[in-house]
Symmetry: C2
Subunit: 377 residues, 2 copies
């Protein structure tokens, strides 16, 4: 199948360089850094129609459209963002940015540390959700955006959107927190730690300084992704999509692929291990672990932590999401209501587990569309 | 704390050697093999008071009591089995046997293949639940037990108990299927495959023939166990036991242990990797994947597959077990009722997830005790 790409959906990533050091939550500093970002739609004269889209663990700035007519796939949220889509780029200027620590163009562990002339590797500082929001705010300054019409994201991206409402309450009018949680549970952290241990115990990890050795800890990264995938899908959707279907119709009594689900997972793991940086995976999962505004700001009370928030909120969860279950979204909703905020909340009936936030579910998209349509710019 | 061990609770494992080759479900043969087993209580004159306990993935024949006064821990089901306990060894003769393919004394991948004089390693044939039941029946023949008062097990052990009711319906009067399922789901298989891939991609695995090289794929086995542990515990019990408690009170912004849950999982992984054989782990998880009597015998219909069963059944599940959820046990119950069997079913309210079957929950134990008390010997 040939995908014919509308020239109007082509987008060119841009790079912004920041030479003012950034003080990180950890106490470390990021001396200078580059951010790669892309913009969909036109920023209006008052810069009042900007929407910031925050990405999740494996995401990046490429939120929609195509970079080149040869691209096989569009950006990761293309079904939601574009001309005439729920987040309509004829009305809004929608901005995606790759977070620092990432591996898609912004400064990260694979970038060259100007001090040493070598890749940062293990010396790249840990970056948190709060740090990302600070960086995104600097980009907004650079682009002349004093206030976003909305900040939005799913999963780890939803945590960043929530943090925006705390860190810069005056700089966003609406906040869309989708398939997120106010903090990870012990089980969430446990899955992350198995993934990280798979990477750091891979003999090709070399303490994080593998770049110069021309190897990557791809065995570990592959396992991390396979495991991640299980937690992104619901038991039900795995059952209906793969069930116990055998690859070759009969058991071969060995450890090669027997079941289709094994084939699928290994393929996903391989593909990811070839395209993603292991140090970034470590960093992103740690940022997930650390995020906990209730603990940081509210003495354990999420309502207190969200006192500063003044935006209007749309919070969305998905029924079969067991990574960040609807109950976790309701915690956010209750805390916002405690503060008298305007909150719309929807629990979307979906079989797709955590991945549902990336899917073109009709109810979900209709809801986002209706919400976005009501935003004044 | 010094544990003072009652000499009456000492038990000595025994070994039975079988020289008649065993034809396996895979078509391969196990030429000769040894089984290690232990017996608690006295077999009565008619051999009518024998109970067979089948073990799960990481279990073995050591079901209760102590092997030596120096032992720090008793057998794995010691809270359930013993004099005066729910499975009372003053009434019953309770037998535990290490399955072939195991790594605790019975012939397995680490055993010497007499043909080559080398450890079996990768050439050890895959053994299934049906094969284990066949082997256990041979042991019963050897011990002069024509019919067990009961066959029982939890998890993979429960699958063996269920298979007993199909393979040898006349040889057991009661069947206790605890925290089990009639087959794995795609999600169950997926978790197993990540665990196996962790092992087989460990550079120290050497295709399964690592024994001669004086290494073990302990990185992979450690990851497999860490992952397994997450699925044995409920989200709730992890939350109440570990939550987001930090090891050192504050973030250190790195990938060493930050959270108590990480410390716990890594410790469990290390301990297991030092004491269990990776080839056995592979084999046991594959046996789990393969078990599917509905598919093998019933054209997909579990009720048809269980037509032959004539035993009375006690089926038990635990509310927070998400590895083998209560719904999976109810499938077994419904299929047995379709066949007019006597079935007692209990869903025990427990926070402990799949591991609950190993815990001394009062309701659970009272139920087993009441059931066992009614068995005539």
């Amino acid at each position: 199948m040939t995908v014919v790409i509308d020239p109007a959906s082509l987008v060119t990533p841009q790079t912004a360089r920041f030479d003012t050091p950034l003080s990180l939550q950890s106490g470390a500093q990021l001396p200078a850094y580059e951010l790669v970002y892309e913009m969909h739609g036109e920023l209006n004269a008052r810069a009042s129609n900007a929407i910031l889209v925050c990405h999740a663990l494996s995401g990046n700035h490429h939120i929609a459209g195509y970079h080149s007519p040869a691209d096989k796939k569009p950006g990761w949220w293309d079904n939601l963002i574009g001309p005439g889509k729920p987040v309509d780029t004829r009305k809004f200027c929608v901005i995606g940015v790759n977070n620092p620590g990432g591996c898609h163009g912004s400064t990260g562990p694979a970038s060259i540390d100007p001090v040493t002339g070598q890749p940062w590797g293990s010396r790249f500082p840990l970056v948190t959700v709060e740090d990302w929001v600070a960086v995104q705010a600097r980009l907004a300054d650079r682009l002349g955006i004093s206030q976003f019409a909305a900040v939005m994201g799913g999963s780890l991206g939803g945590m960043q959107a929530l943090q925006w409402s705390i860190s810069h309450p005056g700089r966003l009018r609406h906040c869309l927190v989708i398939a997120a949680a106010p903090r990870l549970t012990a089980q969430n952290i446990a899955f992350n730690d198995v993934a990280r241990q798979a990477i750091v115990t891979d003999p090709d990890f070399h303490g994080g300084d593998y770049y110069a050795r021309q190897v990557t800890p791809r065995r570990g990264l592959r396992l991390a992704r396979m495991l991640g995938h299980i937690t992104y899908l619901s038991d039900d959707v795995m059952g209906s999509k793969f069930g116990r279907i055998l690859r070759n119709g009969a058991f071969s009594y060995g450890y090669d692929v027997e079941f289709e689900i094994e084939s699928y997972l290994r393929y996903q793991g391989d593909k990811f291990a070839d395209s993603f940086d292991a140090n970034t995976y470590l960093l992103m999962t740690r940022a997930l672990d650390y995020f906990d505004p209730a603990h940081r700001l509210g003495g354990g009370d999420l309502s207190r932590a969200l006192t500063a928030a003044v935006a209007d909120f749309l919070v969305i969860s998905f029924t079969t999401d067991w990574r960040f279950a609807p109950q976790r979204s309701r915690e956010i909703v209750h805390a916002l209501l405690d503060n008298g905020r305007n909150v719309s909340y929807a629990e979307i009936d979906s079989a797709h587990g955590h991945d549902a936030f990336l899917m073109p579910d009709a109810h979900y998209h209709a809801l986002v569309r209706a919400y976005m349509d009501r935003i004044d710019v």
